[in-house]
Symmetry: C2
């Protein structure tokens, strides 16, 4: 019988995690039901429930009514990734943050963008290109298209003073979005903006946002060579 150090749902979470890690409950194993665990830990069932639910949210446990709770066969599935705010990320590294608008203009959007923004082919959209600098050196090149049907007022915003991202956060709500990561080769334009060799491998973060069915914007952030996005499990 294991000593029960428990108190508070976080302690229970820790103890359950320990048992999983030490294979007392190996992958696929069924756990005792909440009532039994509550008795063992000497707490209310609601407290056990809270702990197990949190672990299920993390993907460590799988729970189904009537079927019970089991240790997930494939752990490490869900990770909470904190998307760094570029400015904060740079300032935390100790370097000074700089922002530089390259250009902002209404342009006929390329087909791929019209598709992404769900506007008819050939529609004009607002193109914004900007650079985020760390210690005066290029850190991220931002390439953004804004749907002027959804957010017409962006055309009058002074994007030299406030980044498009900040402006949108304050002026254009969104309800959902997509996020993707990929690797891309630096072409001449990218290499010039980031002052890196043509052919470098760049980490690319692409984000699209919608408000209901209306598309708002689609942005690509190209990080300089060698960038790593890190998180812990």
């Amino acid at each position: 019988m294991t000593k029960t150090p428990a108190k508070s749902w976080q302690a229970i979470q820790a103890e359950v995690t320990r048992r999983i890690n030490t294979r007392i409950w190996p992958p696929g194993e069924m756990l005792p039901n909440e009532i039994d665990l509550a008795v063992e830990f000497g707490c209310a069932r609601t407290t056990v429930n809270r702990a197990l639910q949190a672990l299920a949210d993390k993907g460590v446990l799988e729970r189904r009514r009537k079927a019970g709770t089991r240790v997930a066969l494939n752990p490490v599935r869900k990770v909470v990734l904190s998307i760094p705010i570029i400015r904060e990320e740079i300032e935390q590294s100790g370097a000074g943050y700089g922002y530089q608008l390259i250009n902002a203009q209404k342009l006929p959007a390329p087909p791929a963008i019209c598709d992404a923004l769900q506007t008819p082919a050939g529609t004009k959209a607002y193109s914004v290109k900007a650079l985020h600098l760390a210690g005066g050196k290029p850190f991220v090149f931002e390439e953004r298209w804004v749907n002027i049907l959804s957010v017409p007022t962006i055309q009058t915003a002074d994007l030299a003073k406030m980044s498009a991202n900040e402006w949108l956060v304050q002026n254009a709500p969104f309800s959902r979005g997509t996020l993707s990561f990929s690797a891309i080769i630096a072409d001449e334009a990218l290499a010039k903006h980031l002052t890196c060799p043509v052919g470098s491998a760049l980490f690319c973060l692409e984000r699209g946002t919608w408000n209901g069915e209306q598309s708002i914007t689609r942005a690509r952030l190209y990080y300089g060579p060698g960038y790593k996005m890190e998180t812990s499990i």
Copy 2:
């Protein structure tokens, strides 16, 4: 006055989200305290608490005792990313999954690996190289080092039948890990394994795991050119 459709913490979560999205509560705005919200929604404070806590977990709200609850200034900070199990990802795309062990042997680990595995420089470690195939074509090249001081038994495992990842999941528990994403240029070796041109940009996922203070393994997964890791917000 808004109609309160509330019932269940999820409904409250939805209503709060709606108010944030429609700028009834813009970024930075303070929310009423839990008690007042409970009165407005006609439910118990614990129910409100659950809803707001869930939103705080998502990074939508920021909460502090006594200070209260406010809408986060920078939304979209925390994202739950589901790291796809390679086999599942391939099978879901409709292609057949294949696994191919390239080699597995005890080798003196390069300094960077010894550093990552926290073993003395020049220590031997177990090197595993393998390929995951989708529809018979290379999809991911896996390059792994396993700490044989922590997991000596891996040397007797038949890694041609079971992938190192699967074997470790079943045989070597870990308590914490790191995860990073980056972009890398395909050198000749990588290009050969993935049958892609030298100089391609590859998406690279790097994972390190520990059990307490003991390092277990460090793996790099190189995805073929054009791969995108996607998620939604």
